[in-house]
């Protein structure tokens, strides 16, 4: 339901304007039913609203309960990430990548260092490659779980929220054991990771992979063939494949509309072509298909993780390049050259050659990429975040036209937006 923010004098003025009848000759006096032809209401949802998934403001023009037009306003979480990035060394920017799409922190960290390593011209180690795949798929799982929980709450089912957050706690334990933080992990560095996984971590992951599909089955049993769920989500917010491509949609939004574009398959990175997994593609382009696509993606992530865990090779995690990786303390305190490397890396930071690059990855929201422009110094000249949710959200006016007010919430939930990424 829409909530009108600002129940102060300003709203009263707006309400007065709305309810004014168009003409008094329409038989108001005398007890006849007045004819209001086309009297549209302007409703404001947000920026503070439980169902907008963050601080999004939607202004809807309603004809009764049908949406005629929707004008989204964003920017209520704009913090100047890209500007800050120009004043930080490459490794220092990594904590900002966590906070930007905060549901997919490890994924963002990996995306960032993939781009940075391309800019530096570094090839990472085998172990690091597989660990990063594990990190990305784990963070895909937790992002989709939040999406599942919050979408269910928006549409009315409260219990899957608790189930999904309970599973998230299990993943949090793993991430905390590895990186030290639950949510904002900062788990990667240019040339490697923050640290290798601790002992017993892989067993913990295996245990999680055994138990997690049961929760997925539970959610599946509850929702997929549920008449209420199907009735609330089928046929809503349909985007045809041509429209979806033209609007620049990506991720599950695009795949539910029938375009099988997944960056992991089409422009692979981290050896994803060597993993055996499928990409679910929908055919109806509605909210129900997006739900099915994301649910299946959770299962595919579990598949990838099982393969990654089997193939995790031994070896060093960080690349042995003194230009980017800090030397060990023993070396740094005993060898002059290492001490100089250490000093330069800490004080100035790793410096890439002049150039620019854009390496996209498949984030749970869509095609995510960081565009770096370097002028040879330790701080990027331009750090651009290509935000999938931002471009996905721009299609919302197209998707909600003609739908009911309660459908707006369902469609908004199906886009899976993260305001941190949209507003940066």
């Amino acid at each position: 339901m829409a909530t009108l923010v600002g129940e102060s004098g300003k709203k009263t003025r707006m309400v007065e304007m709305e309810i004014k009848p168009r003409s008094l000759e329409s038989g108001f006096a005398g007890g006849m039913e007045p004819e209001f032809e086309g009297e549209h209401m302007l409703i404001n949802i947000g920026p503070q609203h439980p169902a907008t998934h963050g601080v999004l403001r939607l202004v809807l023009e309603l004809d009764g309960e049908t949406v005629v037009r929707c004008i989204p306003h964003v920017g209520y979480l704009h913090c100047g990430f890209e500007k800050i990035g120009e004043y930080r060394q490459y490794n220092q920017i990594i904590p900002w990548t966590d906070r930007e799409d905060y549901l997919n922190s490890m994924g963002n960290n990996v995306a960032f260092v993939l781009g940075a390593e391309r800019l530096f011209g570094i090839e990472i180690t085998e172990r690091c490659t597989v660990l990063r795949v594990i990190a990305m798929e784990l963070s895909r799982i937790i992002s989709h779980l939040v999406w599942l929980g919050t979408t269910c709450i928006d549409i009315g089912a409260f219990t899957p929220f608790l189930w999904s957050f309970q599973e998230r706690e299990n993943v949090y334990k793993l991430l905390e054991g590895w990186t030290g933080a639950r949510l904002t992990t900062s788990g990667t560095r240019v040339g490697g990771m923050i640290a290798d996984v601790p002992d017993g971590w892989v067993d913990g992951l295996k245990g999680f992979l055994e138990r997690f599909p049961k929760t997925l089955d539970q959610c599946d049993r509850m929702l997929t063939r549920n008449a209420i769920w199907v009735g609330r989500t089928v046929g809503l917010g349909v985007m045809s494949p041509e429209e979806a491509m033209n609007y620049g949609l990506s991720g599950p939004m695009l795949r539910a509309s029938g375009v099988a574009y997944d960056v992991r398959k089409d422009f692979p990175y981290l050896d994803y072509e060597t993993y055996d997994f499928d990409v679910p593609v929908g055919t109806n382009g509605d909210v129900y298909d997006r739900f099915l696509v994301r649910q299946q993606e959770l299962r595919e992530s579990v598949r990838i993780l099982e393969q990654a865990v089997k193939r995790l090779p031994d070896g060093p995690v960080n690349v042995d390049d003194p230009r980017v990786i800090l030397p060990s303390k023993t070396k740094a305190t005993s060898e002059m050259e290492s001490m100089i490397h250490h000093f330069k890396l800490v004080m100035e930071g790793p410096r890439p050659p002049i150039g620019e690059t854009y390496v996209p990855i498949e984030s749970p929201k869509g095609e995510k990429g960081y565009y770096f422009v370097s002028d040879g110094t330790a701080k990027p000249v331009r750090w651009r975040i290509r935000p999938p949710s931002y471009v996905n959200l721009s299609a919302i006016p197209k998707m909600v036209e003609g739908h009911l007010l309660s459908d707006v919430i369902a469609i908004n939930a199906s886009i899976d937006i993260v305001m941190g990424e949209i507003d940066r």
């Binding site: 300003k10 302007l42 055919t283």
Partner: protein, 242 residues
């Protein structure tokens, strides 16, 4: 996934699946990508054949091709790249701008476009010199790709680059009465031009609800009942932002 639900008639249309790439494609993770001297995107030659002088130099860095094009021809070039079956760049990934620290270098507006059919990636650039003679204005590619809508609005908001014939060029991430300037320009300090107290004052004075866009106000029948100064301000066009 239950098949009987899928065969039911939901009233939702069914689309055919579009597979990116060509049959026989086998994309792999790029390894040891060279800094310079990689393979040039074949679209560059096709562009030179079609548009001739409007296409400037091209560079290949880290496996990505960058083409510098002439400012006024951007929309035609993009429209051709999108619609021509041999190019088929149906996907716009990003529109952004870069300003270098070296003040002599021009501002570059960057388009990242992707051909899903041929699995290609191309970067188009337009240089806008900061000599005061060239306006910071480029044609909008919204008629070609609808996804450019918000991307160009953000570019305007952050850099002050206007996009000609954009349907609704307003500030998007900052509020419309934002007075400090365009944040991502290099002469804009990180913490803004005003003191913190001043910024707070401006922010609190910007009532987020009082100012609707022209589009929204046109809905209300009582536009004619608005005070004269507000009507004038809204009617005068807020496309440039204040």
């Amino acid at each position: 996934m239950s098949s009987d639900l899928e065969t039911q008639d939901h009233g939702a249309p069914t689309f055919a699946i579009v597979m990116p790439g060509q049959p026989g494609d086998n994309p792999t993770t790029p390894k040891n990508v060279p800094h310079k001297g990689g393979a040039v995107n074949p679209s560059v030659d096709d562009l030179r054949v079609k548009f001739g002088a409007a296409i400037g130099r091209h560079e290949v860095g880290w496996g990505e091709t960058t083409v510098y094009v002439e400012r006024t021809k951007v929309r035609e070039i993009c429209a051709w790249l999108q619609s021509d079956p041999s190019q088929s760049y149906e996907y716009l990934s990003d529109v952004t701008a870069v300003e270098y620290r070296d003040q002599v270098r021009p501002i570059e507006v960057v388009w990242h476009i992707r051909s899903l059919k041929f699995r290609r990636f191309l970067r188009l650039k337009v240089e806008l010199p900061k000599d005061g003679k060239t306006p910071l204005d480029v044609p909008s590619v919204w008629p070609v790709w609808k996804g450019a809508d918000w991307l160009e609005r953000e570019c305007y908001d952050m850099f002050g680059i206007t996009f000609a014939e954009h349907p609704d060029l307003r500030r998007i991430l900052l509020w419309e009465q934002y007075k400090e300037g365009f944040p991502l320009r290099k002469d804009f300090p990180l913490r803004g031009r005003f003191s913190r107290a001043e910024q707070l004052k401006n922010a609190l004075a910007a009532d987020p609800e009082a100012r609707y866009s022209m589009e929204e106000i046109s809905v209300l029948e009582a536009f004619t009942d608005l005070p004269a100064d507000m009507r004038k301000r809204l009617g005068g066009g807020e496309k440039v932002g204040e």
